[in-house]
Symmetry: C2
Subunit: 258 residues, 2 copies
């Protein structure tokens, strides 16, 4: 439990610049499509252009900004089709992570995840979106890192982008309690110890929620990926496609006890 006395290394300017730009994009201060002018940002952050350029290059590699040679850096502005591609890929990665974690049966990891969920619950009750999503990130980082180091890297570059898009949809209040409820069900699954089932549920649920946000039906091609769904009472049941596919809006679910 004791936090390692991590060496306080003064972060390089390029690292802090990267973080600042990232947060500005995240918060909406730099909207999708915005032209990131090096000299402006450098002056704003009180650094020179060198470190800032590195920060932009780094963000470009993560997919958050796009660099057009000779023209500069722009905040990415994904199309709905691109969003769909990201959402599908993220769901696959999530399912894979669930498989790894369930198979590992690492009680310490499960407890860490449970603790993160508790903090998320407090944040959700306080309507503190910022704290909620910080922990949300921690939850995923714990999950992916202990699963497969490269899974985490792939997930990370998708997740930031998807979040921006979801926020741009302008929902005044994201259903924090609903999101949390799903994570609690996921953790139950990890503990249950069936990797096949855990993968199927996490992947299915991620796709169902993702396509609901997109407000599109799930393509027939992907139906093999959606095989389970979670009932409001927390039980997992096979998912049956109607024709046409119904994307029924989920109602806010009652919370299970911690």
């Amino acid at each position: 439990m004791a936090v390692l006395p991590e060496i306080v290394r003064s972060p390089s300017l390029s690292a802090t610049a990267k973080r600042l730009v990232q947060e500005a994009i995240w918060s909406g201060g730099l909207p999708p499509g915005a032209h990131l002018v090096e000299s402006q940002l450098a002056e704003q952050f009180q650094i020179s252009r060198g470190p800032l350029r590195e920060a932009l290059r780094s963000l470009a590699a993560e997919g958050l900004v796009e660099i057009q040679p000779g023209r500069g850096a722009f905040v990415v502005d994904p199309t709905p089709d691109e969003m769909q591609d990201m959402i599908v890929l993220r769901a696959m990665l999530g399912g894979m992570a669930a498989r790894y974690i369930t198979a590992s049966a690492d009680e310490k990891l499960f407890n860490s995840l449970a603790k993160t969920l508790l903090v998320m619950r407090s944040a959700a009750e306080a309507r503190d979106e910022r704290a909620f999503f910080d922990q949300h990130w921690t939850f995923y980082e714990l999950m992916y890192r202990s699963a497969n180091r490269f899974l985490f890297r792939a997930w990370q570059s998708l997740h930031g982008l998807i979040d921006i898009y979801v926020r741009r949809l302008g929902r005044p209040h994201l259903p924090l309690a609903d999101i949390l409820w799903h994570y609690e069900r996921f953790l139950d699954l990890f503990r249950a110890g069936d990797p096949d089932e855990a993968e199927a549920v996490v992947r299915s649920q991620s796709l169902l929620v993702g396509f609901q946000v997109l407000d599109r039906p799930i393509p027939a091609m992907l139906r093999a990926y959606v095989t389970r769904t979670i009932e409001p009472d927390g039980t997992v049941v096979p998912f049956i496609f109607d024709s046409p596919v119904t994307t029924s809006k989920p109602k806010t679910r009652q919370r299970s006890s911690a």
Copy 2:
């Protein structure tokens, strides 16, 4: 077949530097673990350190080099466990791409892939490994790009690393004909039009070959991912795990007609 008349834009120095370093790592001139000293490389390429730093940052984002703050850039030197993680992830991505492509039923894409395979065959017969792997890359790029834009990005960062590792194993002659044969079977599958089957076969085969290179048995947790195998006559059959798992060495296979 006509190559797109891509705008010939004089590439920036950082872009060329990136390519040069990448090729040096690929060719083994910069071995895993090597310390990439900025001033040395800059002098070698006749550029200044600015663009070179950007190139190294970019390569770090792709996972080919690792930057230790204050100490510099080093060519990554993955452990066997990390290689396993990469191989599993790549297999999943490959399977997913196979699903997309099969479902798209895009005859033009299939023809492009077939053409690439023909070029690969000439290269294999000429024992021209370089040309073979260039086309090999083209094959995958065609496949992933038309499947899911983000799949390609995720795949790309894994593939370069895995290739380095495979080459480091020091096989004097990679079984080009064997590799090619598998790709030909994959293309047959894409054309056959069953996305579930295509995904299962590509994923299974990638894992079987990957773990054979690693010289490790396939973890029980992943067995659900390996459900098919390709017989020497090209037919696809269910894959049955023995206990213990046998990693039978494949013999060079007879080639089917183009």
